[in-house]
């Protein structure tokens, strides 16, 4: 059964159609990757799924509920959490506070303006768990702007995890990482597999092929192929798109 579905969604910015009639079905519990050359519309698709902006046409269905046009701040409460391609954290906050803010968002907001922020044990526990999941528990007191890029990428992921999501949308978690850091990140994503339904955007083919259950290929805003990693590797149209040719 598919947990997250799009039905021919399209997003146009003026004359540019960034996403063109994409229909996707993400199976519950699977790791579904979306690949495609730069500018294929992958991140735009994520922005549509997380309510950053509404689609021009088409529908988005999450857990048999229509969520088309739901604003971003509501989407998080439904259980869709995302990470960003460009690190998007809270720089002057400690790592703990970074994940705490995300964790609190999903809890009951009783005492919002008068209860001390340090008196929410269940929120703090989920925050700590998210840091443990990505291996940053030892740095929880450090400021986000003072850790390395690789660690910031891990934090990026931890913020999404702390929101107790059902679906994780990961936008190039390994962007800008060294080979060593990339290996760590792949191990991390693999460890999360099964615990969450994951939608992954990635450029690095070796990552994609080794972790994905299914792969969808985007090119110029449209889906050109979908299948298992083995099927995708053999697909001539995918090869053409990646070798710089224009899909006709």
């Amino acid at each position: 059964m598919s947990l997250l579905e799009t039905r021919s969604i399209t997003k146009s910015f003026g004359a540019l159609t960034a996403v063109n009639g994409v229909s996707l079905a993400i199976e519950a519990g699977s790791l579904h990757s979306i690949i495609g050359p730069n500018g294929a519309g992958k991140t735009t698709l994520f922005n549509l799924l997380t309510g950053t902006f509404p689609p021009t046409s088409g529908r988005i269905i999450f857990d048999q509920m229509e969520i088309t046009g739901t604003p971003a701040s509501r989407i998080a409460h439904l259980g869709l959490a995302r990470s960003y391609q460009r690190t998007t954290v809270f720089p002057a906050f400690s790592l703990f506070d970074n994940v705490w803010v995300s964790s609190f968002s999903r809890s009951k907001r009783s005492g919002l303006a008068w209860r001390n922020a340090n008196t929410y044990p269940e929120v703090a526990e989920r925050a700590n768990q998210a840091l443990r999941d990505v291996g940053l528990e030892n740095k929880s007191k450090q400021l986000a702007r003072e850790i390395s890029h690789g660690e910031q990428r891990q934090l990026e992921l931890a913020i999404a995890l702390a929101a107790a999501p059902r679906v994780l949308l990961l936008d190039e978690p390994a962007a800008g990482l060294s080979p060593e850091e990339t290996r760590k990140m792949v191990a991390l994503v693999r460890a999360l597999k099964g615990r969450y339904t994951i939608v992954l955007i990635e450029h690095k083919m070796d990552i994609i092929m080794s972790v994905s259950d299914r792969i969808s290929v985007m090119h110029f805003g449209s889906l050109i192929a979908e299948g298992t990693p083995a099927e995708i590797q053999k697909n001539p149209e995918v090869r053409r798109a990646y070798l710089g040719g224009v899909a006709v």
């Binding site: 954290v89 995300s102 919002l112 303006a113 209860r115 922020a117």
Partner: protein, 305 residues
């Protein structure tokens, strides 16, 4: 955390011995104003040039109710808090739709709207002459006309304000507002309705401004037109930045420096705002954290030896 509070208590006790009680009162009133403004400026990262809108509106409404309708002064203080919050809700609702420069200009423009309304509506506000005859509270056995007694009332309300603001900034709300300051996009993505939280910051800040506005009117017995002008809006931003917008106590120290400087220098030297300008430039160039940061640095240097 206890230490700043002790310093503040000592200052409250000693201040009337150093300066006239009226100036001492003004310092704590301005500090209440600053506490509210700093929830926007320091915690939420929103530069509002319209804080006097709430300060002035509350002063006019409460002043008018006391003067014309004989409303009890304590009740009027409460009404002032309400008017401050309500006017901030209206202004805030319009302003939070935009960000950056447009936000700042909107706060400024709406402030001008209120200012010119007060300027034109002379039958109620007195226009340029201000609204005189604002009474002070009356209570059997306590004479609030005595400057020292009134100072005690102001100090008491300031301490309550400080206590409440500390509660707020240490609550989840305080942390969420700071998260919005740090990264609005991410705050929205993890599930916070950012415009609504900004609006909440406006309303709370407006309530503090309202209290300060009414106390100010009672202190001088008049609501001057300046109370709702952009000069007042600018002053509170100025004072907060000089004190240090990054901390709870920054605006308190800022208002101390600002009022003390303006009251003591203005009689000696007509061009005294030049000094403020210099202080401002120094803060912006070298000490983003204001006096609070300077103090910490100094403290660190001495404790190292």
């Amino acid at each position: 955390m206890k230490r700043p509070l002790i310093w503040i208590l000592i200052s409250i006790l000693l201040l009337p011995l150093v300066v006239r009680p009226a100036i001492a009162s003004e310092i704590w009133i301005f500090a209440i104003f600053g506490l509210g403004a700093n929830l926007l400026l320091g915690y939420s990262g929103l530069l509002s040039f319209g804080q006097s809108t709430f300060f002035g509106s509350a002063a006019y409404v409460a002043g008018w109710l006391m003067k014309i309708h004989g409303v009890n002064a304590f009740l009027a203080l409460g009404i002032g808090v309400g008017v401050g919050a309500a006017s901030a809700a209206v202004v805030g609702y319009l302003c939070v739709q935009r960000s950056g420069l447009y936000f700042i200009m909107l706060t400024f423009a709406l402030n001008q709207l209120f200012y010119f309304t007060a300027y034109q509506w002379t039958s109620v506000t007195g226009g340029e002459d201000g609204m005189p005859g604002v009474p002070r509270p009356e209570f059997p056995g306590i004479d609030f006309k005595d400057p020292v007694v009134y100072y005690a009332l102001v100090s008491f309300l300031f301490l309550i304000s400080l206590f409440l603001m500390r509660k707020i900034v240490e609550s989840p709300l305080g942390r969420i507002l700071q998260a919005i300051r740090e990264n609005e996009v991410r705050a929205e993505a993890v599930g916070y309705n950012v415009p609504r939280f900004k609006l909440l910051a406006f309303v709370i800040g407006g309530a503090f401004s309202g209290l300060a506005g009414v106390l100010y009117a009672m202190l001088f017995g008049i609501v001057p037109l300046e109370a709702i002008s952009f000069v007042f809006s600018g002053n509170v931003v100025f004072a907060t930045l000089i004190g240090g917008s990054g901390s709870l106590y920054g605006p308190v120290i800022g208002s101390f420096v600002f009022i003390w400087l303006s009251e003591s220098m203005s009689t000696v030297w007509a061009r005294w705002p030049l000094l403020l300008g210099v202080a401002f430039v120094l803060v912006v160039l070298f000490l983003r954290g204001g006096v609070v940061e300077a103090w910490h640095k100094l403290f660190l240097r001495f404790s190292k030896r």
